[in-house]
């Protein structure tokens, strides 16, 4: 954009209260939901804040959010906004790959999540849920954050890396994965390569994971068997020149898939069960629906879960009030004009899923949990999985998994809070939302 054109445009208003050190980062880290709501209320559709030295423009409301999601990568770059993930995913993987290779890697990742693979995953998840509740007995208490972490760990390794791996390697895989996760935190956005014990642990974990994946891949190449899991799809995928992903890239794609899908699904599962315990009246509707669908002893499968409307609406409402990811970011690669304002090259733009979902225009009485709500007609108002070309490719998998889990659970057990309802709050840390730890519920086998 020419200097003259830029001069004619307004600058986005700046959020008050920046600190000399870290700008708005300290306030953001304390409670980012509260900070984002304050920024939006104070400045409106565009609100610029200082995210630890990075000038970041929060774009609020479906009009601005639509621009965020539809603007192509050459102008709003996802890769440049998430360079913090490069040492976690590894060199040459996704945000570190050339645009062309990156597109192919993401395509191969989606191939593993297409309809054809989903039938296999549905039966894997159903089996894992059965194993998970096998020793629950008739009644008891359960800490649901831990329980869902474990379940989704098993479903994730099973669907991604196969049955054998899931039963032999899940423990080591997850202890390494934990070190990778700890390597992504607020300071990583300042510099993910500085000398820090957490970053050294991250790099060691990345290295060891690649060894493990390389061994697994070598064994599979030698065996020539078919597995039907995501790794098989990753291994058969090709670049335009016909070459396959390297072991480094395969490892990176596995890590990237885990990062996108594990803690988000784990948190969403826990939030769903918590809302079920909070709302016996809605839980009764879900049980009635499931009892009808599975009345004739039908198994949990891709086909039986095709349409479970009440459960789906319930899950949608959980994802509205407790979106696992709170903000999404892009780096501005070229000046853009929006509504008379300049969105300047070099800045970051952000969309807040949380803030979008509490807009009273689209969600009246927004803080009330109401699974009977209609999804707004306006596109880009309800965005639990983001939108546009970078929408979470695992969205169908995530919903399928939640439907499988609750199809099995609600037909067998009733769930209740063990303490006063106000003791159950959301934790808003590390840029995600989930119930506060510990989150204990009581369960009791249903009498038919």
């Amino acid at each position: 954009m020419s200097e003259a054109a830029k001069a004619g445009l307004k600058r986005p208003p700046i959020v008050s209260g920046a600190q000399a050190e870290g700008g708005h980062m300290p306030e953001f880290e304390k409670d980012y939901c509260a900070f984002i709501s304050r920024a939006h209320a104070e400045c409106g559709e565009l609100a610029e804040f200082d995210f630890g030295g990075q000038e970041t423009i929060l774009m609020s409301g479906p009009d601005a959010q639509e621009v965020f999601f539809r603007t192509p990568d050459e102008v709003f770059s996802q890769a440049q906004a998430y360079q913090v993930m490069v040492p976690v995913f590894g060199p040459g993987v996704i945000f570190d790959a050339s645009p062309e290779r990156c597109k192919t890697q993401l395509k191969i990742q989606v191939d593993a999540l297409r309809y054809q693979n989903m039938k296999h995953y549905a039966s894997v998840i159903a089996q894992e849920v059965e194993d998970w509740i096998a020793d629950w007995g008739d009644e008891g208490e359960i800490e649901i954050l831990h329980a869902f972490h474990e379940l989704t760990m098993h479903t994730a390794t099973h669907c991604l890396l196969g049955k054998e791996f899931r039963h032999s390697m899940t423990e080591e895989f997850f202890s390494l994965y934990k070190d990778l996760q700890a390597g992504v935190q607020a300071i990583s956005f300042v510099d993910p390569y500085m000398q820090q014990p957490v970053f050294a642990a991250r790099d060691r974990a990345r290295e060891r994971l690649e060894e493990i994946v390389s061994e697994l891949v070598a064994r599979r190449r030698a065996s020539g068997k078919e597995y039907g899991d995501a790794l098989e799809t990753f291994m058969t995928g090709t670049y335009k020149d016909g070459s396959h992903l390297t072991d480094t890239e395969l490892t990176g794609l596995i890590i990237a898939t885990m990062f996108a899908g594990h803690h988000t699904s784990s948190g969403a599962g826990a939030e769903t069960l918590l809302e079920i315990a909070r709302h016996p009246e809605y839980a009764a509707e879900l049980k009635q629906e499931l009892d009808e669908i599975y009345r004739d002893g039908e198994e949990i499968s891709h086909a039986s879960m095709r349409a479970i409307p009440k459960l789906e609406s319930f899950i949608n409402e959980v994802l509205r009030l407790h979106p696992p990811l709170v903000i999404l970011m892009r780096r501005v690669m070229d000046d853009l004009q929006y509504n008379g304002y300049l969105i300047e090259k070099g800045k970051t733009v952000a969309v807040s899923i949380y803030e979008s979902h509490i807009d009273p225009v689209y969600f009246p009485d927004p803080h009330r949990f109401d699974p009977h709500r209609q999804e707004p007609e306006r596109m880009f108002a309800y965005i639990p999985f983001g939108g546009g070309r970078h929408k979470c490719a695992g969205n169908a998998f995530a919903i399928l998994q939640l439907k499988a889990i609750f199809s099995a659970l609600l037909r067998r057990y009733d769930f209740d809070l063990v303490g006063p309802a106000e003791d159950y709050e959301d934790e808003r840390a590390n840029m995600t939302i989930r119930p506060k730890d510990p989150c204990i519920l009581r369960y009791k086998r249903r009498t038919v």
Binding site: R114, Y115, N395
Partner: protein, 67 residues
């Protein structure tokens, strides 16, 4: 009935292809995700149910149906 697709949203999940192969195909692209192709822009009335299922079950809400 007129079928419209928003290609900005399509990631080639292929649910439409399973629900209604008469109207939808999913085609590999030079670059990036495969994308939906509408084979019949104005499908006959007897396909309405299948077209509506494709629109409803598309995980990315790519498909809209206008009367």
């Amino acid at each position: 009935m007129r079928v419209k697709v928003d290609l900005d949203l399509c990631q080639g999940h292929s649910v439409c292809l399973v629900e209604c192969p008469e109207v939808f195909d999913v085609v590999e692209q030079d670059d990036g995700y495969p994308q939906v192709v509408v084979l019949i822009n104005e499908p006959p009335e007897e396909l309405r149910k299948k077209v509506m299922s494709a629109a409803m079950f598309c995980p990315n809400r790519v498909i809209t149906v206008e009367d």
